[in-house]
């Protein structure tokens, strides 16, 4: 009968409208406005952090995981009407250039007193949360099979050995903080001119440069490649998961500080400040260390499992200002000279 059809059609129409309304409405907001975090560290860790933040403080935090370059681009693109409140975990060099562009807001969190002074921006634009050091990751299973008893590479120069051709994979500085940290590390170690020479020589052995920073480590863990340029925490994480990796720290290791910053004119600056105050505390930092294997700046947080203590590492003299100022130029040059 017609009425049956009519009812069906009307029902489905109304039903559709209802679903539309429900779906488009933003999820039920917490009592307070949520905090928007642009995070550069591991997505999974960020998720855990946000959930812990909500549990501890009652405020909702939403995040999106982006690579360092993406964050810079996004904040820049949004400068007329920023959508994010906090940047977290990004390389300092990029943060410096963002500071120079006036995209950040100074906030001297009380947590500053809990870490050594040199790990926080004197003007208050960023505050360090973790120390990350770089190194070389080698797949031990493949090494045994393909290199036998030969000694593993101990220095950066060892990587130039032709027997490693197409066996090395490295992150691209064009889109990852890891990559950028790596190349400036070489510049700080050797001086810029010799640094470029080194990179050119290494390029012969590199199969390709990955868009994301952690991809080389991941690939070496899976055995896709033999050697990767890596952040120590990425390698340690893989090791703890059971992958056959050896982490080597050559002399002259590049390093970085992951840090937190407040974005200028964000939608929820109070929430942003609250987040920064919280995330630099002992428990959240411990969580990051446990999950991410990054080194902590706080004295009351233990070392990640398997990590080499700081005193035993030979860190390069990282000149933050120089790195920030020359970033664009260096990247341009890299893009022109290295095609992989």
């Amino acid at each position: 009968m017609r009425t049956h059809h009519l009812r069906w059609r009307t029902l489905s129409f109304i039903g559709s409208l209802a679903i539309l309304a429900m779906a488009l409405a933003p999820p039920v907001a917490a009592q307070t406005k949520p905090v928007m975090v642009y995070g550069v560290i591991h997505e999974y860790t960020l998720a855990r952090l946000m959930q812990k933040f909500e549990r501890d403080t009652g405020t909702k935090a939403d995040f999106i995981r982006l690579s360092a370059g993406e964050v810079a681009t996004r904040v820049q693109a949004e400068r007329q009407s920023p959508k994010g409140d906090v940047i977290f975990g990004i390389s300092r060099a990029i943060q410096e250039s963002m500071k120079a562009q006036g995209l950040l807001e100074a906030y001297k969190t009380p947590r500053r007193s809990e870490i050594p002074a040199k790990y926080a921006d004197p003007d208050g634009y960023w505050t360090g949360s973790a120390l990350t050091v770089q190194g070389i990751a080698v797949n031990t299973e493949r090494w045994k099979k393909e290199m036998g008893n030969a000694p593993m590479p101990k220095t950066w120069e060892d990587l130039l050995d032709p027997k490693y051709k197409d066996l090395i994979v490295a992150p691209s500085p064009l889109s990852s903080g890891t990559g950028f940290t790596f190349i400036v590390g070489q510049f700080f170690r050797l001086g810029e001119e010799k640094g470029w020479e080194y990179l050119k020589a290494l390029d012969k052995n590199v199969r390709f440069y990955t868009p994301s920073g952690i991809a080389p480590t991941r690939m070496v863990a899976a055995g896709e490649f033999l050697i990767a340029v890596t952040f120590a925490h990425d390698a340690l994480k893989a090791i703890s998961a059971g992958y056959p990796i050896a982490l080597i720290h050559p002399a002259g290791v590049s390093w970085d500080i992951g840090s937190a910053s407040l974005i200028k004119n964000g939608p929820n600056p109070e929430g942003g400040k609250k987040f920064i105050d919280w995330v630099l505390g002992r428990d959240p930092i411990q969580l990051i260390v446990d999950l991410n294997f990054e080194g902590s700046l706080r004295s009351d947080v233990s070392l990640p499992m398997g990590a080499t203590p700081l005193e035993k590492l030979d860190l390069v003299d990282y000149k933050l200002d120089w790195a920030a100022q020359n970033r664009q130029r260096l990247l341009k040059q890299f893009g022109e000279q290295f095609k992989k």
């Binding site: 488009l24 370059g69 998961a241």
Partner: protein, 551 residues
């Protein structure tokens, strides 16, 4: 008396008058035109207007871009050729009743369509990578799948369903009597195939090639995962934005992809579509085609089975990876991977609600637009028609870049919201719903709608009582297709996500890039399951009278 009022000339403004008589119709036209102008045309214009002269100059002279352009072209040609060949194989196999398991092949052939396109890439690494299940654990091989050859394989498997669908339809419409006639004249076997079957299918082959070509050109996820050093324009657009912050260059690169896509699109729509050798006399009232020789039958069967096996393995491996603690190292089953990605994360729910909204809104919009363009007369109809199908030619990255540029500032500041993602999903898939509705409308004799009006039904009433019920199947197929495509879309939305509005597909890519195979697989498996379950539920609700993908 009547004579005095009688003879009064009518001008050609009777058309306009007809429009104003129907204010609701006029409103609908304005709405549709407005939406298409804002959400389809404007972003494209914005992208084309963004690059300055330097960027355009660089595009054509910088050796890096030229190389990438060459790469893109090369892989597109390769993948298209193999995808069409494979699609034809499947179409041929499923069209002959004497091929065993052909219903299984039908199902398998459309599997890649209901999953995110780059899951193929992910699974490929899991299966055939260094530590892949097949290459390492089973066969002990060592080889490198990164690069153009790996990408080629992955894209072939990912895109052949598109060719399959197009070709299956074509083959079905060829009158088998022609083959009987040829045999009667003494031609059979390979000669028959080459001189009769293949030529008849040629327009369909051309059409399929053009369709697949557009997909291959704009593929983003697979090259990211499997391409290695072999980079293509779509991924480079991504890098330009994420690494360099150079939106101008990204826009220029997107535009570079747009031109070949448009060419393919125009060719397919206006040149090939018209040349169909199909006999259009009713449906399926044909006799079965003549039987194949056993040798051919078994070759076809074996080939299809192999591919089917690979495909099924691909999806199986994703599910295996979802439950494995650490891929390649620790195979202990666990639910850990699901915990923070699915159970407590919002990404899957975001995908569902955005895709659902896009599907509902998009289907209504498509149906209304089709109705207006094909039942009403107003100036600029052809332009609206073109705008409604244009998105099919736009690469996903172009839409993404276009939307960030277009909707970042008031009056339409949509960036950072879920609405922009819904809009991108919705307008990206309009062409399918629109064309389905147009085909449906073409089957309604105009006199039926006139009959309703004649009996006293106003235009809206006619639309509701008569037109809508008669194109219901077009509506539902639009709904389903939009939903599936939107759930799985990546390239268009990867630039549009924001805190609280992350969708599953973007999350899978991020997780996979990080080497979190377990979580990536868990998310991918959940995404595919969600699509499958929702489709099942929908089918149950509507009583199973669905014609989905010609199944």
């Amino acid at each position: 008396m009547a004579k005095a009022t009688a003879v009064q000339a009518w001008s050609g403004s009777s058309r306009v008058r007809a429009l104003t008589r129907d204010p609701l119709g006029l409103l609908a036209i304005v709405f549709v035109v407005g939406c298409l102008a804002v959400f389809v045309i404007f972003p494209v214009v914005r992208v084309l207007a963004q690059p300055g002269l330097t960027e355009w100059w660089r595009l054509f002279t910088d050796p890096r871009w030229l190389r990438l352009g060459g790469n893109t072209f090369l892989i597109a040609v390769l993948s298209t050729a193999s995808a069409v060949a494979l699609g034809f194989l499947f179409a041929y196999a499923t069209s002959r009743p004497d091929v065993p398991l052909r219903h299984l092949f039908k199902l398998v052939a459309i599997l890649p369509l209901v999953s995110p396109p780059f899951v193929g890439g992910l699974a490929f690494i899991l299966l055939f990578g260094r530590r892949g299940l097949v290459t390492y654990s089973l066969l002990g091989l060592s080889g490198d799948i990164y690069g153009w050859h790996g990408l080629w394989m992955v894209q072939t498997l990912a895109f052949f369903p598109i060719a399959y669908l197009s070709l299956a339809g074509v083959l079905r419409r060829i009158n088998p009597t022609l083959e009987y006639a040829a045999q009667d004249l003494g031609v059979h076997g390979l000669r028959l195939f080459c001189t009769v079957t293949l030529p008849l299918a040629t327009p369909g082959l051309a059409s399929a090639a053009l369709l697949v070509g557009i997909y291959a050109l704009s593929d983003f996820g697979n090259p990211m995962l499997v391409g290695g050093a072999f980079k293509v324009l779509a991924t480079e657009t991504y890098t330009q934005i994420t690494g360099w912050g150079d939106i101008g260059m990204a826009a220029a690169l997107s535009a570079a992809l747009l031109l070949p896509s448009l060419v393919l699109f125009v060719l397919q729509r206006y040149w090939v579509e018209g040349r169909s050798y199909a006999t259009i006399t009713g449906k399926g009232s044909f006799a079965d085609p003549p039987p194949m020789s056993p040798a051919v039958r078994w070759v076809v069967f074996t080939a299809c089975s192999l591919v089917a096996l690979v495909l099924l393995a691909t999806y199986a491996v994703v599910f295996v990876g979802a439950f494995a603690r650490t891929w390649g190292v620790n195979w202990r089953p666990t639910l850990e991977n699901f915990e923070y990605t699915v159970f407590r994360g919002s990404q899957l729910w975001n995908s569902i609600r955005f895709a659902g909204t896009a599907a509902l809104g998009g289907s209504f919009f498509a149906v209304i637009a089709a109705f207006l363009v094909h039942r009403k007369r107003f100036p600029g109809r052809a332009a609206v028609d073109f705008a409604a199908v244009l998105p099919a030619a736009l690469p996903g990255t172009l839409i993404g870049v276009g939307y960030i540029l277009a909707f970042n500032t008031p009056p339409l500041a949509l960036t950072g919201t879920g609405a922009i993602i819904v809009a991108a999903m919705l307008f990206r898939t309009i062409p399918v719903g629109y064309q389905a509705a147009v085909a449906g409308l073409a089957q309604i004799a105009p006199s039926i709608e006139e009959g309703a009006a004649d009996l006293g039904a106003r235009p809206l009433r006619t639309f509701w009582d008569v037109t809508l019920p008669l194109i219901r199947s077009a509506f539902t197929s639009a709904l389903i297709f939009t939903f599936i495509r939107s759930m799985n879309t990546l390239s268009a939305v990867v630039f549009l996500i924001s805190p609280g509005n992350v969708v599953a597909s973007a999350s899978i890519l991020a997780l996979a890039e990080h080497g979190d195979w377990g979580q990536a697989s868990a998310m991918a498996a959940s995404l595919m399951s969600a699509v499958f379950l929702l489709l099942l539920a929908f089918r149950l609700i509507t009583g199973g009278r669905l014609r989905l993908f010609e199944l």
